[in-house]
Symmetry: C2
Subunit: 470 residues, 2 copies
């Protein structure tokens, strides 16, 4: 196991995120702390999506014939689909698939729902569990057999132009979401051979994990009319004709939590953005023989104050254990801010703050009329700095190269992402992947003029991102 | 189909709660309106449970050997379990069950989690989908093959006494929850032959649907040490011994939504308690040729005001369709309060309110400084009246009888619940069920002294509830 892998597994256990001892490979238990982080993360996502999407919930099981209807799509998933074959002691007439993704569950219904041009656009999403029989090595939250947190959005449009625009809107939505989590990303168009089965093209979000490998954390697919034709989804135009619709879909998974853990974590453990931390502030009393009651009283008031006035999630840790043990625990669990209060602080009208992100202690004035505002400002600054620091790390890990050799060098020395001009041809791409022994992540439009492919000297219109991927 | 069945199916479709056309029997799609009702309902439940339970999430799939460990339990479910036998094109070494309920998924982990007496009690819950291969006639939200909304709580305790107390606490929790929804209930102990497979005893909540049949809407099980012994869940006592734990579990399902629809609905459609209505207030402008702009402006301000000041979910319906059509639609969808605003109302400083529950129109004074308070008071009164009316209907449908013949008569004439003294013996109970041709729902402690069984004249310590059940 790599150093990062070991750290990642340890922190999942120690911070009580996930229990990996469940007796089915690749399927895990969300523990209370992990569940809270997941819940707050999903709340951010729902708030963004609810502005113009409707939340729905489709069945888990998909009949064999529906799943098989779209040939390219089923080909992409046939080796990964779990099959239900028996109900009780009876063999089912028709096998049922555990959804690997929900196009083939949803689109037969869309075919019933879409009638008229005035029904469009339709924008739905659901957050569900999905299943993939992974044959590769599984990793909690990263490569699993039960994806417990699969957010899939599906939209239906009248025209190809609207669909293009929806892809851009989805990219904006995901940017907004990842920015909130302080997760930096690259956005690129996946190469032809790596797009979603059935899509015209796929745009993907990747971040870089501490071991230099990239993690795909979100995808947006332009489905064109592929599924509309397969599932007969048509609408009546203003002039009475029947036309096939255009569609997009876009998804996120448990990997959003994996990226938060990986990107922000450090040797001391988790470091959580305030928006998703189970507690945003913990208050630890420093009690000596004298003045204990005053300290407790003060801490309780502070807790109530911050909850009511600043609407923060606050925990007053008055457990009867050493303060040092509490410090260690809350740092490891990634709680953004600790406030320490001792008898001398009360006398001096001060409290001590400790920021998890910078690991810095500060003595601040305690003014009851301003403390809520002060703490809120610190929270905002934590969010901002965490995002900036993570963004800087990502930038430093993206390196532009001029030759295949340089790409190889950098890849073996640093990992991360290398970028270069590429013609975009499949054969040339496969050749590059073979030479550098890592994958082409995707392409972005180049701003340079008259550039040529790093590998075959043909003209190149875009730059390519190359990375060792999870 | 009975009259109620037909009404129920129609309203699910017309109010866009559930789409029943999904191509697998007993599995349905939650539509946006239904999903919102479900979401608000679950939020109430979570708020109550989060006070002293931790939310977790366990895998869907349970290995065959774990499911089979507890013999009585597996016997109770073996005809209903869906089995996954293949991953991709490969047959699995070990079959995986789709959870019918999660004891056998959770308790092997509890065996790892519980160490010491100080770990206890533990109280967890999760909200998940579960699966039962129902061979009986399926009905949306009532008898389904995918239960999409299964709330299951599982607690672990050191002593039998604490477990008894937890059963009572769970009953209190469910009472609090159903009271919030205005759903009346009876609470009774299920007869031995109808308890949860593996439980010492089961306490159940039932309500009466408009067709006179009872619907089980919640259950609380005292599991004693049955599962602790099967899954080896032990704790170390203060004196260093290892003892088996005691457990309870309690659950709710999609039926909570079915009961809201059935209990509160009427000929005009749904009628929703304000706490769970997608919108609590709709504002409908009455526009004639003159004064249209002022009315629109007024409605928009009112919408903002009610949202901000009263924190209500408000919809301003300015669609270009007849007001009558809007009235019909919002009544059918069960929105608790409609506010109508016309130009004359503005002049008179009045608005018209229409309460869905009482179907009464009222002209109320519009005072901008008081309107939010007034509407909040109306909302509170709606909640209260809906609960009281539903409670009264239930009470009227519970009839005490002194003979088997009377029980038969009442059952065939009214349905509902009949109560009588019963000795509690299994054979006598079966005899009664055969004679009256309906089920014994459960027993409650009798307050009468020296009563005798209605059927066999043996002494009786409790009264029994008899009903035709869903």
């Amino acid at each position: 196991m790599s150093e990062f892998s070991e750290w990642f597994h340890n922190i999942l256990e120690e911070a009580e995120i996930i229990d990996t001892r469940y007796p089915v490979k690749g399927m895990h238990v969300w523990l209370p702390q992990g569940f809270k982080i997941r819940k707050h993360t999903l709340n951010i996502l729902k708030e963004i999506l609810d502005k113009d999407h409707e939340e729905v919930l489709f069945p888990l099981l998909i009949p064999e014939d529906e799943l098989a209807k779209e040939a390219i799509h089923v080909k992409g998933f046939e080796e990964e689909v779990y099959w239900v074959t028996h109900g009780g002691l009876t063999e089912l007439n028709k096998k049922l698939a555990l959804r690997p993704t929900s196009e083939t569950a949803m689109y037969p219904m869309f075919s019933l729902w879409v009638r008229n041009h005035s029904d469009l656009p339709m924008k739905y999403y659901q957050i569900v569990n999905t299943f993939r029989y992974e044959t590769k090595h599984t990793r909690p939250l990263i490569r699993v057999r039960e994806i417990t947190t699969f957010k899939e959005a599906h939209t239906v449009h009248a025209t190809a132009e609207e669909t293009e625009k929806q892809v851009q809107d989805a990219v904006k939505i995901y940017k907004q979401f990842f920015d909130k989590l302080g997760i930096p990303y690259t956005v690129s168009k996946r190469p032809e051979w790596d797009k979603f089965p059935g899509a015209e093209y796929t745009v993907a979000f990747d971040t870089i994990m501490p071991d230099g490998k990239t993690l795909q954390i979100g995808t947006v697919h332009n489905l064109g009319q592929t599924f509309a034709k397969t599932f007969d989804i048509t609408y009546e135009t203003a002039t009475g004709e029947h036309e096939y619709v255009y569609q997009t879909c876009y998804g996120l998974s448990d990997r959003i939590i994996a990226s938060v853990i990986g990107v922000h974590g450090d040797k001391a453990g988790l470091s959580l953005p305030p928006d998703i931390a189970p507690y945003q502030v913990v208050i630890v009393p420093i009690i000596f023989k004298k003045g204990g009651e005053e300290v407790i009283e003060f801490c309780k008031n502070l807790e109530e104050k911050l909850k009511l006035e600043a609407n923060l999630r606050v925990y007053f840790d008055d457990r009867d254990i050493r303060a040092g043990k509490k410090y260690y625990e809350w740092e490891m669990r990634g709680i953004p801010l600790r406030i320490e209060v001792g008898p001398r602080d009360l006398q001096n009208k001060k409290v001590v703050t400790f920021r998890r992100d910078t690991q810095e202690k500060e003595i601040i004035d305690f003014d009851p009329s301003k403390i809520s505002e002060t703490i809120t400002e610190i929270m905002d600054d934590v969010s901002l700095k965490m995002k900036d620091n993570a963004g800087e790390k990502l930038e430093n890990n993206i390196r532009s190269v001029d030759s295949i050799e340089e790409a190889e060098d950098i890849m073996s020395q640093y990992g991360g992402i290398v970028t270069f001009d590429w013609c975009g041809d499949r054969e040339c791409g496969k050749d590059i992947e073979e030479k550098v022994k890592v994958d082409i992540l995707g392409v972005q439009l180049s701003e340079k003029e008259n550039s040529t492919c790093i590998n075959c000297d043909k003209p190149s219109k875009h730059i390519t991102l190359l990375a060792k991927t999870y």
